[in-house]
């Protein structure tokens, strides 16, 4: 309010407080009309549209137009590698085939397995790390920065290098695991074993993105005011009790924010998995985006894959909607 009132005053001088409040609210959104009229040059309305229009036009051209095109293609049997063949309208049959196809559900299961375990591990490790860093030991800022490095790197380029670490004989990962467990390195086929491959991608994703969850959780922990802990101390609440009744509930919106972000990102995961396993062995790590790529750019079933893309998009959009609601709640705290 302190910030809003001065400009509100220039609009209304002698009025009741309720009008003043409303004016202040309006002033929060726009420059007062009395001033706007006196400004030389383009009107504010013009400036607003000139400033916003290019972004909207670009997004319409690069995002919305292709999306509409994809919706249209999803009702056809179009194949991008045979552009001269007649395009037949086949109605909803692409959609019904996807939703009844067992392969789709296998891909969805692989995606769910990947999303569930990455989020669980990243949240547990990320929150624990944030909690430890919040002890504010000496040098915690430096170590935090070091921990953050993996998440800034290219998942494709670093994921590719993990193939080397996972090599059964010469790879560092299998060597270290075999060193500590005694299992011979030749048995640690991280990328070619049906049981281990889904975990291979989970390990790399967790390594990369735990810092992300940690950073958001850390912000959550730091947002808890000291006086709440002081009051709890006065009430002789145990540390255990403080954690469950203060720390966790107050950091929860932040944890949820991190979970949703990771959920959306991992639901559309492509690059790292494509390079590590390419969906294999068989289709054990074939997450949704990999299926989509195979259908669209290897089998060239453009119409079919467009329908699949629309289904995925609707799913992600649903998640995004939830995300924005949570985001607003976090912001209003």
């Amino acid at each position: 309010m302190q910030e809003l009132l001065p400009s509100g005053k220039s609009v209304v001088t002698d009025t009741t407080s309720s009008i003043l409040d409303r004016a202040a609210e309006a002033a929060a959104r726009a420059t007062p009309d009395s001033l706007a009229k006196r400004v030389r040059g383009l009107s504010d309305r013009m400036v607003a549209w000139i400033f916003i229009a290019p972004t909207i036009v670009l997004l319409l051209a690069i995002n919305i137009f292709p999306l509409i095109w994809a919706i249209q293609l999803s009702f056809t049997n179009y194949r991008a590698n045979r552009p001269n063949e007649p395009i037949k309208n086949i109605g909803l049959s692409n959609y019904s085939r996807i939703l009844t196809d067992t392969d789709t559900w296998i891909a969805m299961q692989a995606t769910a397995h990947f999303v569930f375990w990455t989020i669980l591990l990243q949240t547990l490790i990320g929150f624990s790390l944030a909690y430890l860093i919040d002890r504010k030991f000496r040098g915690h800022a430096l170590w935090t920065t070091i921990i953050l490095v993996p998440m800034m790197l290219s998942p494709a380029v670093v994921g590719n290098f993990w193939r080397f670490l996972y090599e059964p004989q010469i790879g560092l990962f299998s060597y270290v695991v075999s060193f500590f467990t005694g299992i011979p390195t030749t048995d640690i086929q991280m990328l070619s074993s049906v049981t281990l491959a889904p975990w291979a991608i989970i390990i790399v994703d967790t390594w990369m993105w735990t810092p992300y969850v940690m950073l958001i959780c850390l912000a959550g922990l730091r947002s808890i005011p000291d006086y709440i802990y002081e009051a709890a101390e006065v009430d002789r609440a145990s540390n255990w009790r403080q954690f469950w009744s203060i720390t966790l509930p107050m950091a929860l919106p932040f944890i949820m924010l991190a979970v949703l972000f990771r959920g959306i990102e991992n639901f559309k995961m492509f690059d790292m998995v494509n390079l590590l396993t390419g969906g294999g062995p068989g289709s054990t790590t074939e997450v949704a985006s990999i299926t989509l790529k195979r259908e669209a750019f290897e089998k060239w079933r453009t119409g079919f894959s467009s329908a699949f893309a629309i289904i995925l998009f609707v799913a992600v959009f649903g998640l995004a909607n939830i995300y924005v609601k949570v985001l607003n709640r976090v912001k209003s705290r």
Partner: protein
Amino acid sequence: MSAAAHSVVEPSTTSKRVAAALVIVYALISMIPLFWIFATSFKTPPDSIAYPPKLVFTPSVEGYCNLFTTRTRQTPEYISSLPPATNFCDEVTRKRNMVIAGPSNFLPRFVNSLIIAFGSTFCAVFLGTLAAYGFSRFRVPLADDLLFFILSTRFMPPIAVAIPIYLMYRELGLSDTALGMILLYTAVNVSLAVWLLKGFIDEIPREYEEAAMIDGYTRLQAFRKVVLPQATTGIAATAIFCLIFAWNEYAFASLLTSGTAQTAPPFIPTIIGEGGQDWPAVAAGTTVFLVPILVFTILLRKQLLRGITFGAVRK
């Protein structure tokens, strides 16, 4: 317990020590893969595939030589007939019974990455700054819906977007061009730029520009001379985030570029030597590719949280 005597919220020394130890152990373990990339880039091919993995080795720049060159196998007689090697790379290559045939594609791909990343970042930040100012300062009809629309484009799975973009670019002749990639990355990044910059511009008191306009500035002059200088930090942070995204991007690049406009991420995994992947060369390429990001991460560390949450969490 004793800590409670002086300050109730300050953690005890023991708990600090335990926390520090655990965090440092995690940090060191998480650095091992990166350390290994760096170490491998200085190994010779035989050292890189030795069993057990070699921790101590004689450093060599052979990986970097192989990264930047293509080589052909020759007979020892042919090699001994050549004039003496003039540089280190020649020498290393000849020891493996090969001669350097020419430069590899790494440098052009790296340059593509630079052009596309910087080009798209410039466009995204330019458009984003204008739009963010518009949303921050004016009554825009349906502002919340438009902002949500802008953000939602970021949630589309890249492969889903790539299908129609692939068809559209084929029609427009933008397939495998730097311009096409710049346009695409600008569209993806502009959502981030608008959301981040709106947050930064919201924090600049509007009284500054209003005072300037009362003094006779036009709205555009006030924007240029008052708001932009105030928003420099925010713009710089946003630019680095856009740059990192465009630099790291793989999905679009691997599907929409194949030759002339290919960037480094889809290229590096394809570096092969004789008998499979040339890991020292891959590691060298990865190292060269990652160093700029490391620098940026250190520059950005104060703004990181804000960037990764689209401005939802500020510190």
